[in-house]
């Protein structure tokens, strides 16, 4: 089955599916490519993470290119943690000439979360300013106002945390990101549909597309970990109980059912414009989740 690319799908008003590819640390990319192959024809676009959690891995850009050669529409995740404004702009132009057409603009996890804690974090820009930078390059000028020989053509995305606490400053930043040029948003993982609906009521006031973040729960332990250690993610007790009841063997199946139900609900009730399915290392399960959701 041939899938529309991200921008086409969103603009056509189709329920859009994205998934994630996390490049490995090291040059053995066989497994990564295998997972990506599984997703061909099942998703509209694939995010490639950028030294996720501040852990050193292969760069996002070369992997985007490989996935694009494979037939995917990659989303180049770009953080401000590891590059200053010169490197950011040259990477954005580089992405364009490599045929990459989507960029997800993020500030990036702090180096203190990662595996090189003594590194110097850059943060010359942050997410809102990064969105402005992409908009400038798309308009044919660099951040200093210099004219470029050939503009970029990048579809700009950003992230938002619908369950952030406090929520109001997060919403204010969401609006700034819209103003700075974000076309689409991928959300942090959401589990409580009522909370998400309330968030979407506010997000819908803006002309942007929103993909709901669906994070596969592998077991009850993972759910508890998220609640305890990951700000902005809340897994309701009811889901934790379900995972527990499924037992050790059935937990993953149960988590896949939960993810599939979420995707189905969001699609059937038109809550958001699509779903961003994160399986963290279990990307090979994504096609099955989509099947259970009645999509693929």
């Amino acid at each position: 089955m041939s899938m529309k690319k991200l921008k086409e799908a969103l603009e056509a008003g189709e329920f859009t599916i994205t998934a994630e590819c996390g490049p490995p640390k090291g040059t053995d990319i066989a497994e990564m490519l295998e997972h990506a192959k599984h997703l061909l024809g099942k998703i509209n676009a694939i995010n490639v993470t950028d030294n996720q959690s501040a852990v050193v891995r292969i760069g996002s850009l070369p992997v985007c290119r490989l996935l694009s050669e494979m037939g995917h529409d990659p989303i180049f995740q770009l953080t401000c943690r590891d590059r200053n404004r010169l490197a950011i702009q040259s990477d954005l132009m580089g992405a364009h000439i490599l045929g990459i057409r989507n960029v997800l603009c993020m500030t990036g996890d702090h180096v203190s979360a990662g595996d090189h804690k003594t590194a110097k974090p850059v943060y010359d820009l942050e997410s809102v300013q990064l969105l402005q930078t992409v908009a400038a390059l798309n308009g044919g000028h660099d951040l200093a106002g210099n004219e470029m020989k050939g503009a970029t053509n990048l579809y700009q995305g950003a992230v938002v945390t619908p369950e952030a606490n406090p929520l109001e400053p997060q919403m204010l930043k969401f609006e700034k990101k819209v103003k700075a040029g974000a076309n689409f948003f991928q959300t942090q993982a959401i589990y409580d549909m009522d909370n998400f609906r309330r968030f979407m009521d506010r997000a819908r006031k803006h002309k942007v597309k929103v993909l709901a973040g669906i994070l596969l729960l592998k077991n009850a332990g993972m759910a508890n970990f998220l609640n305890k250690f990951v700000p902005g993610i809340t897994v309701p007790q009811e889901l934790i109980d379900r995972l527990k009841a499924a037992g050790k063997e059935g937990a993953l199946e149960c988590g896949m059912d939960i993810a599939a139900e979420q995707v189905r609900t969001i699609k059937e009730q038109g809550i958001a414009d699509g779903a961003h399915v994160m399986a963290i290392g279990l990307e090979n399960k994504v096609p099955e989740i989509l099947k259970r959701a009645g999509i693929a």
């Binding site: 702090h110 943060y123 938002v160 406090p166 700000p231 902005g232």
Partner: protein
């Protein structure tokens, strides 16, 4: 004030390898408040160095160690003690240490402290960093709270996704700068201002080394 921390004593001893006699210089300003350059700190250092067989030729607490000319004049009275020392161990910030480098052209000068940051003393001998001297203050736009310094990512346009019930994802000991900024601007009725996008900072303003000369006002006729 400039917050300084005493180096590990062993590091100081290693630094003084081959040095038989030292002159100790403290500072009565920040380093005294931090307890790293006070008369007590100097006395303790003297005792400790003598304990390992070094000779301490003299000690002096400068009024303001970063003031090069003033310190030079003050130290005239200690000329013989300084001359008799192989090296000067400076117990102030890095600026005070380099005042000595400038004054005593041929003398070895070593730092006893690590210079940490510009700090507010918020409780007795408890220092918080609130300004990192970026060269262009923008806190009129952020409710008087500096995100350049108090947000570990220096984010200028609102909280990241890691904001956590008023605390920062980077450490549970850090309050989220943007949660504080929002709360304060809400109280002061400035939330509208918070909607404006703050542009990237001009880091040329922070380029080192900096020089600043106060220009004399023209005499009024």
């Amino acid at each position: 004030m400039i917050v300084s921390k005493a180096k590990e004593r062993q590091d100081v001893i290693n630094m003084l390898e081959g040095v038989k006699s030292v002159f100790l210089l403290g500072c009565s300003e920040c380093a005294s408040l931090c307890g790293t350059g006070s008369p007590e700190a100097l006395a303790e250092m003297k005792e400790s160095l003598e304990g390992i067989g070094k000779k301490v030729t003299g000690t002096f607490v400068a009024k303001t160690g970063c003031q090069v000319l003033g310190t030079k004049v003050e130290l005239k009275a200690n000329k013989d003690e300084v001359d008799a020392a192989d090296a000067i161990l400076v117990m102030s910030c890095g600026a005070g240490t380099q005042s000595m480098v400038e004054v005593f052209k041929d003398k070895k000068v070593y730092p006893a402290n690590d210079t940490a940051f510009l700090g507010n003393m918020t409780r007795f001998q408890h220092f918080d960093e609130r300004c990192s001297m970026c060269g262009e203050c923008i806190i009129d736009k952020t409710g008087g709270i500096c995100p350049v310094t108090t947000c570990p990512k220096g984010i200028l346009n609102g909280p990241c996704g890691g904001t956590n019930n008023g605390f920062c994802e980077v450490s549970p000991d850090i309050e989220c700068a943007w949660a504080k900024i929002y709360a304060r601007m809400e109280r002061t009725g400035e939330l509208e201002k918070m909607r404006q996008i703050i542009p990237p900072k001009d880091y040329s303003k922070k380029m080192s080394p900096k020089v600043f000369v106060i220009e004399k006002k023209k005499e009024e006729k």
